[in-house]
């Protein structure tokens, strides 16, 4: 479903330039759920933004569903691939109702039956019709995140990219969102790519994962390997240790991997 070869993304010019993504090669199969983890600032969001066409300053090769992608995407691309952003508070227009938020992509893509589609997608994400005419500030954090997911799903994409979809949510709401994503995947055969800091979330939802550090993909593993702690790279081993909870002595032993 996704095939990335030697992806590179740079920001800025001259002495101020940063190489945010430094030669990433990665593929995700149709129907697979794939986790992307790693250091803060290592380029995870930048990879997602390049794949979804939000960033056009990249080099390398990106193919989605067998089609080679250029820097600019056509409208039809967004029927295939949608992204859910990290911040459930910032990504919804504060003065638009849920109905209007969901109607907009339908209108942009000239699809019919807006009414039926909105009704179905709200049910899909576990929000009844009662939520349809509410404003974002009248929803809880978890409900807002469901609306953001509904907005991505309303075009019935085959590929969903999620950037930290649960990090701002409490643990019970996180469980609701993870259960929802699992059900959508089973019912619609969705392919999922999930960026997160939480390895337990990856273990719950994904089949495979990749670990990034300083713009590079340092290791790929299956979730079975993750569960057994069977990592090969020192950076990944450090990440696994850090996931076991706080320990002062363990923190002392951490180092930077270049």
């Amino acid at each position: 479903m996704i095939d990335i070869r030697d992806l590179r993304v740079r920001f800025g010019q001259g002495a101020d330039a940063v190489t945010a993504v430094d030669g990433v090669t990665l593929s995700v199969r149709e129907g697979e759920s794939f986790g992307l983890v790693g250091e803060s600032g290592s380029g995870k969001s930048t990879v997602l933004r390049a794949v979804s066409g939000l960033n056009d300053e990249w080099t390398g090769r990106i193919a989605i569903a067998g089609t080679e992608q250029g820097p600019k995407r056509q409208k039809s691309f967004y029927k295939l691939c949608q992204m859910v952003f990290q911040d459930p508070y910032g990504s919804l227009h504060p003065r638009h109702t849920v109905d209007r938020i969901l109607a907009e992509p339908i209108a942009i893509h000239g699809l019919g039956d807006a009414n039926g589609r909105i009704d179905r997608v709200l049910r899909d994400v576990g929000l009844g019709p009662a939520f349809r005419f509410r404003y974002p500030h009248q929803l809880s954090g978890g409900q807002r995140q469901r609306v953001a997911i509904a907005r991505a799903l309303v075009l019935e994409p085959r590929l969903l990219l999620l950037d930290e979809p649960t990090s701002a949510l409490d643990v019970s709401v996180q469980a609701e969102i993870l259960n929802l994503l699992r059900r959508l995947r089973a019912e619609h055969g969705l392919t999922l790519v999930l960026v997160t800091h939480n390895l337990a979330v990856v273990a719950n939802l994904c089949d495979r994962l990749a670990v990034m550090n300083r713009g590079r993909l340092v290791e790929e593993m299956t979730v079975e390997e993750l569960r057994r702690g069977a990592a090969r790279q020192p950076y990944t081993l450090q990440l696994l240790r850090a996931s076991q909870g706080y320990d002062r002595a363990t923190a002392e032993g951490f180092r930077d991997y270049a």
């Binding site: 250091e39 803060s40 809880s140 409490d170 259960n179 273990a203 719950n204 569960r227 850090a242 923190a251």
Partner: protein, 286 residues
Amino acid sequence: MTDQKTADDTPLLDVSNLRVAFPTRNGVTEAVRGVSFTLGREKLGIVGESGSGKSMTGRSILRLVPSPGRVTADRLAFNGEDLLAASPRRMRDIRGRRIAMVMQDPKYSLNPVMTVGRQIAEAYRVHSKAGAAEAKRRALEMLAAVHIRDPERVYDRYPHEVSGGMGQRIMIAMMLIPDPDLLIADEPTSALDVTVQMQVLAILDDLCSQRGMGMIFVSHDLNLVASFCDRILIMYAGRVVESCRASELHAAQHPYTRGLLASLPRIDEPPGDLPVLSRDPAWLEA
């Protein structure tokens, strides 16, 4: 409520029957409904679902509850001093220098038109009367201490030019630079990867154990709070429904706490649906 007092037996913080209420068009919303605890030179965790009143509890200690919110308490004392009776001028003095708070959303708390380095340096100068060069040197040290790579480069950035994880560390640096006695940290590390998170927590831990700072740590991450803090309050609908030693969180008794723990995914468990909370009206009165 457990009473864990400091050696000289005046607690750093003494809170009794704290209430926060917001008048709205449809009556009064009670965000905090009678919270009591004392804090010594220790790390106190506050956990609980979204909207349970964690942030409002933290903000009311600094009298930073937004209007039209009203704060009342039978007692709200810092080092024996009544915070509810303190003048606005006295509160400004306490805020920052004696009690610092890392807010939940760092982007809103930073001044968007001043470089992050200058903001940290100013925070130092307000309380220390240091010269500009000295303040800059201390600010750069602080940025390095919170594991910001390349502090010189980051010093000259504006808030919108740093990532979420960097913003959180900048806020922490700014709050720690005046060397407060009490730090209230509201989800201070939620945007950090687990390795950097642990390194930043180690700094806070050392300030508590070596300089006797007290700390209130608000977080959704139950495992993190259980391993990092000394004691935990579990909040539901504006009340503390249970409190325990951090190391005993996993043996907590209240069905709400048990429900939160059950909904956590685990790295060593196979994938599958997670239990979600079903709320019991009786918890409101607990």
